[in-house]
Symmetry: C2
Subunit: 200 residues, 2 copies
């Protein structure tokens, strides 16, 4: 116990530590985010952190789940815009999120390929991000763009979300003179084209 | 030495073993493809296999490199078709390849995320598959579709290749009533739309 420690409930303390973990993950990979790093940044003992998070893997899971929740929240569509505008806003929030959390985000995408429990969180988040296109509000918006919900549409939306991830990660690394606006327009335009019925 | 062994040059033998490795990888994951499995299928000793391939990791690298070469070969565009037709044929060959090599292909995509040397082979193959859109012959074809080569175009093509991989893997697992033809049309149509200049 040090005199500078602020007295908090265990829940508040855990929340604070999770927030700090997400903040730290923004600029480092999952591998670089250890209990030691968190202990030092939070100014509390490793023992206490193990008390809150069990082990490193559980700690990573908790941080990644929290980061995914934040991504889902910041990209949530507002309902008072026209559909295309809403899509652009949502995409813009995603681009800004990846920009600000680049190191951690890329390491998570990689880790999700081989770590079963991280993959689950990652895929659930991605499903949430794309499936809301098909919830009640989303479906009205899609209809306004001339798009109907079908297995083929869902398949293409799933692919578009992989495309978006790949393109945004590449763009943050090297924008190659493509502006944020052009990026958003191309992604939005791509989605609309991909879910159209085939012409032939 | 057994009496059934056919006398081959070391190069021929290595080729034969690589071919067998690629064949075995079609229906199992990289993890399931061991020197032991290959030895049993080839009817030769593990010792001899270590002689040819060094260790398991080198063996995996050699098999994956060979599999990538085959994928690049079977999807090579022929030059006597119109551009869209050529794209559809190439895509069709890719879809058939993933269908026939599903287990190994999916495990490779996953392994490439964390294994540095496999990632290199994987990314090189993917770059070859997409970059040929921009070689001399490809550029003419693109021009015929009204598409110019630019950093933005390349960025979107890179994204489209991630989309195609995601969509085709999903589709092979569960076609959801989407026919092979519709799949190809949607993917080709998507590429053309994604590389157009933004409308707005």
């Amino acid at each position: 116990m040090t005199s500078t420690r602020i007295r908090m409930t265990p829940d508040d303390r855990r929340e604070q530590l999770l927030g700090l973990g997400v903040h730290l993950l923004a600029t480092r990979s999952l591998d670089e985010l250890s209990i030691d790093v968190l202990a030092e940044e939070a100014g509390i003992s490793r023992g206490l952190l193990y008390h809150y998070f069990g082990n490193k893997q559980d700690f990573h899971r908790a941080v990644v789940r929290r980061a995914a929740d934040e991504l889902i929240e910041v990209t949530a569509p507002s309902s008072d815009e026209d559909p295309l505008q809403q899509l652009m806003l949502s995409l813009g929030a995603y681009v800004d999120y990846v920009t600000e959390n680049y190191q951690g985000y890329v390491s998570l995408v990689r880790a999700a390929s081989t770590d079963e429990s991280l993959r689950e969180i990652y895929e659930q988040a991605r499903a949430t991000l794309t499936d809301r296109l098909f919830d009640v509000a989303g479906r009205e918006q899609l209809a306004a763009l001339g798009i109907t919900d079908s297995p083929a549409t869902r398949l293409m939306v799933r692919g578009w979300s992989a495309l978006t991830e790949e393109v945004v990660i590449s763009w943050v690394r090297t924008p190659h003179g493509v502006s944020r606006d052009e990026l958003l327009q191309r992604l939005a335009q791509g989605l609309v084209a991909l879910v159209q019925e085939p012409a032939g």
